[in-house]
Subunit: 214 residues, 2 copies
């Protein structure tokens, strides 16, 4: 039986729709009344684990799920040993550096050395500032990162930006771009190697359906 780790939240609906085109119907996870975290597909051939974004690569890396759908942002942040199989081209957003609109910084290189940068994605932020050779003090926050500059705790933030509305509402402006992110189909490397065709056929259906989306 194949197990698929799906992220609760913004990616769920599109994830379910891609698997449904590949013959696995997990639509019951979308019912508002669903409280189950482990949901069988309607055909009984597979099951879905409904987990937080950041936990999708964990369940796939440990092999409790053979496949999963998660954003590239989470993959880059957690760096777990999973195979990045298909770019699903939904859930588009990007990782950005933002500061107060009123500040004079026009790019991340303008930030003062050793300034504070708040982020939920401190690994991505660390790599970015190392690459541009700017030493900063990273402050890990678990939510509402935009409060960092507003309260004066941080000079800048590194955060995911989709529409840009949250930045605007909080008087922040983007000054640098780390990478673009979209949802990815990921797989457990060992399960893929031992696969007798079952996983591959699902991956190929999703991949060819994906080609028609491009």
């Amino acid at each position: 039986m194949i197990t698929v780790a799906l992220a609760k939240g913004a990616l769920l609906q599109d994830s379910v729709s891609r698997f449904s085109k590949a013959g696995l119907d997990f639509s019951s996870v979308l019912e508002p009344s669903n409280r189950q975290l482990m949901v069988p597909s309607s055909c009984g051939r597979a099951k879905a684990l409904l987990v937080r974004n950041g936990d999708v690569p964990v369940y796939v890396a440990y092999g409790q799920a053979q496949l999963g759908v998660v954003g590239l942002d989470v993959l880059n942040e957690h760096q777990l040993p999973v195979a990045n199989l298909v770019d699903l081209n939904f859930g588009a957003c990007h990782m950005a550096v933002a500061v107060k609109e009123s500040s004079s910084y026009k790019s991340a290189r303008d930030l003062p050395p050793h300034c504070r940068v708040a982020s939920k994605f401190t690994n991505c932020a660390k790599k970015f500032f190392e690459d541009i050779d700017l030493p900063v003090e990273l402050v890990h926050l678990s939510g509402s990162v935009e409060l960092g500059p507003i309260t004066g705790m941080a000079e800048a933030i590194v955060d995911l930006v989709a529409s840009g509305r949250t930045l605007k509402e909080n008087g922040l402006i983007e000054i640098d771009h780390l990478f673009d992110s979209t949802a990815r189909l990921i797989g457990n490397p060992l399960s893929l190697r031992l696969d007798t065709g079952e996983i591959e056929s699902i991956v190929q259906s999703i991949q060819s359906d994906q080609s028609t989306h491009n």
Copy 2:
């Protein structure tokens, strides 16, 4: 102006009520329509930062908030330099080790060495297993930790237990106890040292109100 970091969620209502008895009325944060993260008190003398549980000690440690309310579980997990001022005696729960009901383990010492333990509180779990001298592989999850044993990823979990309902619903049973947790009033050490009486009077009001609760 005094800034107070309050945790969104289960502790919020009681936190607001304790500050209100000390003369700071933040009741507007409880209005369902409130979307602001920084909310002035009705008297204008103070403001509240509405943040995630885990971020309360961060804002207090960095001095953006002089006071905050958060559970001992979060303080033990994050180990940030904040002063633990008053045990507010609400939000009672405890940190526990749990396994599948069907397992034969009666205490954490029965777990096989090098087994996997899933938790959101991996620092607390690490300390506990080091103290009992049992080497385990900790798997950090960000939510729904009860899925760990259900999927077979982990032999046990370390998680917060309040009523015990989540464990029961997921066929899990508690086999060991790490520590009891309640909400705490915390403070920024430097702000407390430089205080000219304003912070102290709030802390004392909350403390004496607390004595009447005991």
